[in-house]
Subunit: 418 residues, 2 copies
């Protein structure tokens, strides 16, 4: 139950194109229980393609290629696969007729250009996979030992269409009904480091209920992901649930959800349950916290609005922070963060005000307040909490981490029962 993916095209080696076909096929294969053992990209070079095909056949014996099936001279997949299988190209009359019909139906003048007939040349013995989404058909070639290569176009829309129409059923038939599946579950944490989590997990770090564990640190925190491979569906589900429960127990208050859970959506849901409305006051994040909250459809029943208090004048005029306090403590200080949160709550008639002020960089750092220094504060119906952190990363990352930190302060405050 193993396959390799080979994506073909100079674009991929020059870095102009992000390969989205590989991830699409990888997810689709994983969902049916087929493991992607290896992914590679080579250019529009027949020798390199043939060599990559030979290596993949030796390693795994099952390859899906994308790209290099078009009509132009730099589309070399057909001849390269034929070479790797030790066979030659022959004209497929059905494809040629189809191309001629397509040419006429699109209203182009004259005869089909000869170059387009390249697409009708197929390795001897190949099965043609119809393409209802474009002009280049796919191909399936297999040798006497049962090793196979499936070739599909590289245009993502055509590739995805063909996967559903013809390739997915073929791969499924090939491997039998997927009796085993690959599935993951993620526990999302924030406010704790990867190494601290590893220490807290102790023995579990080597595997949870027999499932391997991966740490995925990012600007929103550290995700813990367990993956079940090769179990029957029921067993997969049972193990994933038990593993997630074990991880949630260790992560405790640092865990805020599973899988794709967004912390902004968690905060909105908690507020909604309690009938609380929210307002924001943002300095260094400049609107990012508001953007995250309003990215969630239906956020308008919780979020009233907020102030982008970028200039200190705005902190005073629109949030009621005293200019004197800013002068004495600095705009990035506990006191100013607290007054910003308080001002947002009062001036927007909200139950909760949440504020961010910090030094996002690259300039503006001092010895006492280096780049990355952030204060966030939350006023929950008059109870004000504030925390500070020195966040790593560039300007964008500091701002992302600061927005997450502010959301997390509200979440933890609400869980304490405000």
């Amino acid at each position: 139950m193993r396959v390799e993916l080979l994506t073909i095209g100079d674009e991929l080696l020059l870095g102009f194109t992000l390969d989205t076909n590989g991830p699409f096929l990888a997810r689709a294969l994983a969902a049916m229980g087929v493991t992607v053992a290896h992914r590679a990209s080579v250019g529009d070079d027949a020798d390199a393609v043939a060599r990559a095909i030979r290596e993949a056949l030796d390693r795994t014996g099952a390859v899906i290629t994308t790209g290099g099936l078009g009509p132009t001279a730099d589309d070399r997949t057909r001849e390269a696969v034929a070479a790797a299988f030790g066979t030659t190209l022959v004209l497929d009359d059905a494809i040629a007729d189809g191309l001629r019909a397509l040419w006429r139906s699109r209203g182009f003048p004259g005869e089909l250009p000869a170059s387009n007939l390249r697409q009708a040349m197929v390795p001897q013995g190949a099965t043609v996979l119809p393409n209802a989404h474009g002009s280049a058909p796919g191909l399936w070639l297999e040798d006497a030992r049962g090793r196979w290569v499936a070739m599909v176009p590289g245009v993502p829309r055509e590739m995805r269409g063909m996967w559903g129409d013809t390739l997915e059923p073929r791969v499924r038939a090939r491997f039998g009904a997927g009796t085993t599946v690959v599935r993951s579950r993620t526990v999302r944490t924030t406010g704790i480091s990867e190494s601290q989590l590893a220490d807290d997990l102790g023995e579990l770090a080597r595997g949870v209920h027999g499932l391997p564990l991966a740490y995925l640190p990012g600007v929103e925190g550290v995700d813990l992901r367990v993956t079940a491979t090769g179990f029957p569906p029921d067993e997969t589900e049972r193990r994933l649930t038990a593993a997630a429960d074990a991880l949630l127990a260790v992560a405790g208050p640092h865990a805020y959800g599973l899988d794709d859970t967004d912390l902004a959506a968690v905060v909105l849901a908690r507020c909604r349950e309690k009938g609380l409305r929210l307002a924001v006051a943002e300095s260094c994040t400049g609107g990012m916290l508001g953007m995250r909250l309003t990215a969630v459809p239906g956020s308008s029943d919780v979020l009233i609005g907020g102030v982008i208090a970028y200039d200190n004048v705005v902190k005073a005029a629109h949030l009621g922070v005293r200019a004197l306090d800013i002068a004495e403590h600095g705009a990035v200080s506990e006191l100013v963060a607290r007054y910003m949160a308080h001002g947002a709550r009062l001036r927007f008639g909200a139950d909760i005000g949440v504020a961010i002020t910090g030094v996002a960089g690259p300039g503006g750092g001092t010895e006492a307040k280096p780049v990355g220094t952030v204060w966030v504060a939350a006023d929950l119906r008059g109870e004000v909490r504030a925390v500070t952190r020195r966040l790593p990363g560039d300007r964008h990352e500091v701002r992302q981490r600061a927005a997450q930190m502010a959301l997390d302060l509200v979440r933890r405050g609400l869980e304490k029962g405000a």
Copy 2:
């Protein structure tokens, strides 16, 4: 002048992560005249990594790996590369000391967890490449035949930082100065469709000064990219400049810059030149416009701040839009957009107020104002302009397009000489 890239991580094989490191390195290498001959991805499996390294050494003899250098048990790159070179891992005292110092400087309590010391184990004979952007250093290992592997972390920010700091100079020294290069130039346009551009370009659409042209439509507009391959450096530069000039002439007022130019940075620069200050009022974008402006370092001399006017109450209380006008015209209307922009300008003491109100979806659409309907307005010292558009895409995309549309309205207003 050939290198291979190997990206390591289960993430990449399961399709959970788009590989952005590969394209970054490929572009950077191409720009210095080094060809990427092959790209591959394998999982966190020491045998698979070692095998991939051996194959790459046989093919090309020069490999850059990303990922698998972290502190946890699934970080297997060090041991796999050691195995491929037939050597073992040894503790590097300098790295260990550095990790301990970093631990203390971040204010974590207690001693460095033992698991973190994995990062100090290096293949015997490897050169340590310092990492000023994170805790895992990079490594360079070379055999007696001059074949080499450079290992850098998989976190994109760290990888990019290390490339500039240490890896790029090493690779350059290795290969000497490149003689031919692959380089692109992009003309960024917004407010005009791909097909309209193609019509306006006429014959140029088939190639500009002998360079192939690509259309890259996205949420910020349509980028036009020309690519020069295989010319000497002088000739490359000459052709790219001539091609960009030709494209700029056709695109006219729709073009706002070259290459990575950000429209928010263009608007900020124009305002700065004219000594104008800016305030924003955002409804459906909820802070995204403010976030884009404040993403640009140094934006604080132009951007005063703004209001996230999500609830209509905020449009009235903080921007002075009459509740009556909202009731009669709807929150998504030309009148409300104009008053929001005007209110932002007056209440923040700015020269320019810019406002966005729209139906981002998925809910909230009506027959008269379907999902995607957006009004943006700009008040430039009392001269108010407003435009509407029905934007395609999902909630996120509509919001991104709306923010770009608002920035572009300000840009065009400033170019008319406000």
